[in-house]
């Protein structure tokens, strides 16, 4: 019942916001709606915590420790993003970057996007998962081109075509999966339910599943942003409005990875080996290396952090590919802390770009003097995302590194190289932006500081102290993903 309420709120508010349009309270309603979904998701989480996984609405939906934590994360980050976007979009509106229609569309699609992500997470049906992933793309694609500049239209077109084609391949994978499962489970919807597939996974035909997994990796991997399928990601992140960059980076990539991990567990069980995991490890390490070297030559600040997202998704993909309790635990934690850190970085970057009137790194200077909280927000964000202690990213990367040391020691140099290069690149570029004197001409903004520091505080806490309930949650999830 709670699950249905979760969908109703986001879908209903999408419709509501489409009707309300660009009125004064639209942004507040957006915040309220996101917050309502967050509260409902907390109830759901408590339920799952006490009674374990469950299915709802005639097996259409299911929750377990793995997806419920992503649901809470998704609703939480979307709430803080809604708070941030209130200030951010007001500024953009005042400077004539978006019009009347644009704002109506923006708010409605923001809620639609949340709905699509929640559906992807909670559905029990592999086919519906595909449909909602496609819906998530469709709802954001026109948001990327919201400003109607030539480069934003180009970025949106690229995003649409690449993700559309990629996800089409995932549908082919889904068809193959159904082809294998209908022999075991029987025809009809039953053959596509995760809960059924997991039960019969060792009886599914391994040759078909291995072929299906190739299509899943290419399909959902495009959305995760794995190299060499990542081309859309930096463009879409740098050209769209910053709140959208924050949710794309912090949430959508996680959802795509979630889909991939579910497929990997299934295929591994059918094949009786870690074949699928090895493919993910390959893609993960390649993404880490390529993205970290790409970081070095970025001139655009949002583009740079987009590459940093590719790098971190690479690390998480690698961790899930490696498998085993420690690496999986590390991967889960990494998804959590990366999502929190990266969205808070995009919040500060958005404000920094508004202050300086440009996204060009060379022209952003002296943020600490111009607006101390934005400046320090960026300093802490970069320290956290590069994996410095005491922040949570350090903990997750350390766990993954430990597991790599044990199971795949040959990959340690590559892994370390990627992290070190990313650290050097980000740290150097951050310094020129925050220190020194700000330029004479700059915009006054009313920044939303609460989301940034709330996220940073959470990441800091996760680095120092790991709460009991979260630990039990993750251990349950590790058990599911074995």
């Amino acid at each position: 019942m709670i699950i249905v309420a979760l969908f109703t709120v986001s879908l209903f508010s999408a419709v509501m916001l489409a009707i309300i349009g660009d009125r004064r309270l639209a942004a507040e309603i957006n915040i309220l709606a996101s917050f309502a979904t967050f509260v409902i998701s907390l109830f759901l989480a408590v339920d799952v915590y006490h009674s374990g996984g469950m299915t709802a609405a005639d097996n259409y939906f299911f929750v377990d420790a793995f997806n419920v934590y992503l649901v809470v994360l998704t609703t939480f980050v979307s709430t803080t993003t809604a708070v941030f976007s209130r200030n951010y979009m007001r500024f953009e509106r005042a400077h004539g970057k978006v019009g009347h229609k644009g704002m109506r569309f923006y708010h409605a699609m923001f809620q639609m996007f949340i709905f699509a992500m929640l559906l992807a997470l909670l559905t029990n049906n592999v086919g519906v998962l595909w449909i909602s992933m496609e819906l998530a793309t469709l709802s954001t694609v026109l948001l990327v081109s919201l400003y109607r500049t030539p480069s934003s239209v180009e970025a949106a077109w690229k995003y649409f075509i690449l993700c559309g084609v990629g996800i089409a391949l995932a549908l082919f994978g889904t068809i193959l999966l159904y082809f294998a499962s209908e022999k075991v489970v029987g025809e009809g919807t039953q053959g596509l339910l995760w809960t059924n597939l997991i039960l019969v996974s060792d009886r599914l035909e391994p040759t078909i599943l291995s072929l299906a997994f190739i299509f899943f990796v290419v399909g959902y991997g495009t959305k995760v942003g794995l190299v060499p399928l990542h081309n859309w990601l930096p463009d879409a992140h740098s050209e769209g409005p910053t709140p959208i960059s924050a949710v794309l980076s912090g949430l959508l990539l996680n959802i795509a990875l979630y889909a991939l991990v579910r497929c990997k567990v299934l295929v591994n069980k059918a094949m009786g080996s870690n074949w699928a995991g090895e493919i993910m490890m390959g893609f993960g390490i390649l993404s880490l290396i390529v993205a970290s070297f790409s970081l070095l030559r970025q001139k655009d600040v949002k583009r740079m952090f987009a590459y940093s997202s590719i790098e971190h998704m690479g690390i998480a993909t690698f961790a899930f590919g490696l498998g085993g309790p420690i690496a999986t635990f590390g991967g889960l934690l990494h998804m959590l802390v990366h999502s929190l850190t990266k969205s808070s970085i995009f919040f500060t970057v958005g404000h920094a770009a508004q202050i300086s009137g440009t996204q060009h790194i060379a022209n952003i200077k002296g943020l600490i003097k111009a607006n101390p909280l934005v400046g320090w927000g960026m300093v802490f964000g970069v320290i956290a995302i590069t994996g410095m202690p005491p922040f949570g990213v350090f903990a997750s990367e350390f766990l993954i590194l430990t597991a790599t040391m044990k199971y795949a020691p040959m990959l340690i140099p590559l892994f370390m190289l990627g992290i070190a290069v990313a650290f050097a690149a980000l740290f150097r570029k951050m310094q020129t932006m925050v220190f020194g004197d700000p330029p004479e001409v700059r915009q006054e903004i009313s920044a939303a500081h609460v989301p940034v520091f709330l996220h940073m505080a959470l990441v800091l806490v996760l680095g120092l102290y790991f709460p009991q309930f979260l630990q039990r949650w993750f251990l349950d999830a590790v058990e599911i993903l074995k």
Binding site: L135, R148, V153, L171, T174, Y178, G188, D235, K299
Partner: protein
Amino acid sequence: MTFTAQIINVLAACILLTSFGLLVQRRIYGLLRIFAWQGLFLSASTALVAYTAGMNHLYISAALTLTLKVVVLPYILYVLVNRLNIYRDVEPLVNIPATMLIGIVLVIFSYHLTAPIRELSTLVTRTTLAVALSTVLLGFLMMITRKKAVTQIIGFLALENGLFFAATSATYGMPLVIELGVALDILIAAFIFGIFIFQIRTTFDSLDLKEMEKLKEHEGA
């Protein structure tokens, strides 16, 4: 092989033929016509599978294909092409023989890839899975080789045709909920494509995607 199975195979061959047709057709009206034909073959083969296998829900997806792929989408594109006055455009295609050869290689590759599955399948339609995969890959090839926005859209839709064909040929169709969802997604995608065409037109003054190559790594910029 029964008579109906043979007809299904003939229809599969027709779908493959139309994919190659799309690959080398230069005129936009011609492309739309071939695309509609492909939809018609697809719909006919789906209906035939529904008849032989006695799967009633496949009739619905056949009807869906007929309305969407043969009537609605070609019509939307037709209106769009007329409205934008681009129906006279002839796309310069480099090296048609080479494209055809790559296409043939892709077909052989698909047959090779699906070989293990063909042996497992007992369905009437099992031989058509390779054709479905070929259609998907040829749609890909079309999207790569074409530089105009409208032709890329047609390539994308042809790719989706291949997926639908895979769903019917390999599995007697996905459950109806899924097919309806997929159809809805494709419809939304088509509308977004339409909106995009106008956005590209107004921002770039051209529908040539060669204009849209600004966003690269800005080395030394």
